[in-house]
Amino acid sequence: MSNNVSTSTKTARNETLHDKRRQRILIYALLTGFAIFYLTPIFLLVITSLKSFAEVSLSTMWDLPTTFSLASFSKAWLGSQQEGFRGLGVNFMNSVYLAVPATILSAMLGSVNGYILAKWKFRGSNVLFPLLLFGMFIPYQSILIPLVQVLSKIPWFGGHSLYGTIPGLILAHVVYGIPITTLIFRNYYAAIPTELVEASRIDGANIFGVYRHILFPLSMPGFVVVMIWQFTSVWNDFLFAATITSSPDVQPITVGLNNLAGSYIVEWNVQMAGSLIAALPTLLVYVVLGRFFMRGLLAGSLKG
């Protein structure tokens, strides 16, 4: 009798174990299936860009390259005079000249604003903050017309205006980056105990001293999060770039890539190599600093 009971519980346990294992297999299968979905476009991007022109044929587009060729990359970078298209090398460097200063300036502004809004609250700062934040949600179409008008009236070197220049683009990115960078820094500084600030005030530190000796040294993770966020959004921006710059010599990589891909004379392998070149810097940041990327993402949703 007792024997019977124990065997039946044993089989029951075996069955639940079996069910559990089945369930685990199903979970991993689903996760892998999704992973394939996310990786397929990148797989195609990589195999196509590694193919030589001779190998690019529509019927074999999903096949692995038989030889390893970097010709597509050099063609995408340098362009081809006889085929009549420009390379992305110039645009890539323009994006560097744009994204690096814009990112640094944005982070500095955001840090100062965040410090004031977190530790030097004034009357009305609780109203001011959401008014600032609204600026990061607006569709930029609603400011493009006056932006172009104003930029073309601000004088710049060589008798030009800021319109059509990289500094003009930097200005736009820094100004419209104020809300998000301020938000991230404010939340970051708000989490630093006010007691620390008060203690240093008693030691005689003024508004600058508190920032220099207390807040700033603790800010590194905040700076990393903000700079990753700004760098990614400036590098990937298309709307401002396409509106403010019209000459190919100053256009950033997104505009260059869009022009390259839009012209029907450029082969697929060159287009894909160009896409990979355009995506590489932000992908690299993501791979190296993924943890901070994620934090920026969650911080960007206000209460994250």
């Binding site: 996760l31 992973a35 996310y38 476009p41 195609l44 529509l58 587009m61 999903w62 100062v112 604003n113 410090y115 809004l117 004034f122 609780n126 903050f129 959401p130 008014l131 934040l133 609204f134 600026g135 949600f137 607006i138 569709p139 179409q141 609603s142 400011i143 493009l144 017309i145 006056p146 932006l147 100004v175 419209y176 104020i178 508004i207 590098w235 990937n236 921006d237 298309f238 709307l239 396409a242 509106t243 997104t254 890539l257 869009n258 891909a261 894909m272 160009g274 896409s275 355009a278 995506a279 992908l283 993501y286 791979v287 993924g290 990327f293 993402l297 969650l298 949703s301 209460k303 994250g304």
Partner: protein, 329 residues
């Protein structure tokens, strides 16, 4: 009462450049765009004579704009629904103590680091259907090779618009009660929009996954255990406990992705353009096209204001709500 000290003055001085910049570049510029939308400005030379609401009247009567509104609404609904479902499923799966969780998470999230332009270029190639002469290409070719040929279709080159046919039963009822407009191509979803949604979901669903995963991790295990002890089934736990507790996350995701999807522009430019019969056109695209290519500044300004109002309806209550809840703390 606060005493006015030199530090207080300095603190205001430090933040004032940013406040001034936002006042001019956001609020001032919006005011200017709104003003321009009431004028006759229709060429490179500004003409600021006022015409009242006529730009808006013309816009809402404009067939291209009507299609754009249909596309932007159907895109937003479909995109949000897909991102929420995919993100929630992925987060729930990843929350089961998965080996290699970090790797899976990185794979689902990496498209967020890429620009919409790159996404558009790659997905355009994936979704180029091929032709009878040249054979299948892209995903159609992949489906064919995998024996899934029934999945092949024209993607964004298909001019199809799914809608309630006027001659169907539902359509006749709608016509009878004076809502015949609902049973026409003016309310529906185009094949082009579906193609855009798939690419956009590929790019953004990782964000939903990350948000939900953070939300799931903040629900204590004891809560689920207690419900299990009380005899609740796993499905009941999901519906009665987990989904209600994740409501704030869902709300945040809807706000963030909703405003992104109303503004979507880059992806349309690089992937499809306005499409056949404007099947992938959206207000953001029309605005840029008509303003900076066509020099119809007043019309562009009117489209921009409509876009802004749509986004504001979504965002303003959220901003007010989050600043209030914060003030209570």
């Amino acid at each position: 009462m606060q005493r006015i000290t030199w530090e207080r003055v300095v603190s205001i001085l430090l933040i004032s450049p940013s406040v001034l910049a936002i006042a001019v570049f956001v609020y001032g510029f919006i005011a200017f765009t709104s003003f321009a939308s009431f004028t006759k400005w229709d060429s490179l030379i500004p003409d600021f004579s006022l015409v009242g609401l006529s730009n808006y009247q013309k816009l809402f009567a404009n067939p291209r704009f009507q299609i754009d509104m249909r596309n932007t609404v159907s895109f937003t609904i479909l995109f949000l629904a897909l991102c929420l479902v995919v993100g929630f499923v992925l987060a729930s799966l990843l929350d089961q103590h998965i080996r290699g969780e970090g790797i899976f998470r990185s794979i689902y999230l990496f498209p967020m680091a890429i620009s919409f332009i790159v996404t558009g270029v790659v997905w355009r190639w994936l979704m180029t259907p091929g032709s009878p002469g040249l054979g299948d290409t892209g995903l159609n070719l992949l489906f064919e090779k995998m024996g899934l040929g029934f999945l092949k279709w024209g993607w964004f080159t298909d001019p199809m618009v799914w809608h309630i046919p006027a001659e169907s039963g539902v359509g006749q009822v709608l016509t009878a009660i004076g809502l015949g407009g609902l049973a026409s191509t003016k309310v529906g979803i185009s094949a082009g929009v579906i193609s855009l949604v798939l690419a956009a979901t590929w790019q953004m669903s990782g964000y939903t996954m990350a948000m939900y995963l953070a939300g799931l991790r903040s629900i204590p295990d004891e809560l689920r255990e207690a419900a299990r002890v009380d005899g609740a089934s796993e499905l009941q736990i999901l519906w009665r406990i987990i989904i209600p507790l994740l409501k704030p996350v869902t709300l945040s995701v809807i706000i963030i992705l909703g405003h992104i999807s109303l503004k979507i522009y880059d992806l349309v430019v690089s992937m499809t353009g306005p499409g056949i019969g404007f099947s992938t056109d959206v207000p953001a695209y029309y605005m840029w096209d008509t303003t900076f290519r066509g020099n119809h500044f007043a019309r562009g300004a009117a489209i921009a204001v409509v876009l802004l109002v749509m986004v504001a309806v979504l965002i303003v209550p959220y901003l007010v709500w989050s600043s209030r809840t914060e003030a209570e703390l």
